[in-house]
Point group: C2
Chain length 163, copies 2
Amino acid sequence: MPHDIVKDFGYLTLGSRLRRLGEMVQANTQLIMQQHGIDLPAAHYPFLAAIDRNGPLTVGELADVIGISQPGATRTIGQLAEAGLLDLSVSDGDQRRKQVSLTKAGQDLVDYSTREVWPGVEAAVRNLCTDLDGSFLEQLASIEDGLKHRPLIERMTEDKETK
Amino acid sequence: MPHDIVKDFGYLTLGSRLRRLGEMVQANTQLIMQQHGIDLPAAHYPFLAAIDRNGPLTVGELADVIGISQPGATRTIGQLAEAGLLDLSVSDGDQRRKQVSLTKAGQDLVDYSTREVWPGVEAAVRNLCTDLDGSFLEQLASIEDGLKHRPLIERMTEDKETK
DNA sequence: ACGAGTTATATAAACGGTTATATTTCTCTT
DNA sequence: AAGAGAAATATAACCGTTTATATAACTCGT
């Protein structure tokens, strides 16, 4: 009995494999954020970060920029607004558009994360993804194994220690 | 206004990015199968392929081998059984276990795919993923761009033509 | 200035996955 | 042989996403 069919099938099942790995990375990231007392689905951060970086954006622009469907964006924005992190207001010139901006709490969260959390996450992921070699498939396998062997959260603290 | 925030954020948003790319690849694959008259969610093939390769497996074994949760496996197996591709039967020795096997239709589908479709898909994906260089992130970008520029289905036919 | 078409957002339904929990069957100790 | 615990599957509830569609607001040609 094989250990991992999706891996065995190589390029044929690349799609499943990328998705699976992506979910693992997101789960790891979310855990790190939780440890900092921030309890938000990993997929929600891009919304906050996008507005922080660009200033207020409309629902459609956010969907575009983040690369999900417009209804998906509407929903996530709704949840973030509910959580008090985003603020919706009808655009001045065009009443169809809704301008989405960060609330004070949202801005604080982004500021804190930018300062205290994300650099560590970035470093941990970078650490996971460097010094790979071989075919793309082999690199993918290395990342999978690496993540299983030492989750992102350990790669952060270790970075601090060894630095 | 940026074009793609998830891309811009580099390693920080690797999770989202892998998931997104995985979905794109799966959608491409599904389209190819459809063109051959096979209309099944891309994520279902591993079940058929796993049983084809290993003989009948139990629900739990399939979940393991494919790398999803047991309830997820139960559900997908149910759908494939509904579609007449899989057959469930209680195990001989242990009445808790359910042995999952391919029906004639399921076996035919696998045989046909193995002969006529999957090699092409595999080649197309391999084509997409070779001759990459740079950091893992840069390779990812190449694949994203490559897929956008020429979908898998074109990479199959082109392979045939140029061969 | 009005109506046709377009654009922006919202809503609904479906899907594939998850976790938590229930149910059934087996195993093993005494 | 009985009863406790373990194991396999099923069910329920939820989540984030998707497509299709509805609704509301705008634009533009006549």
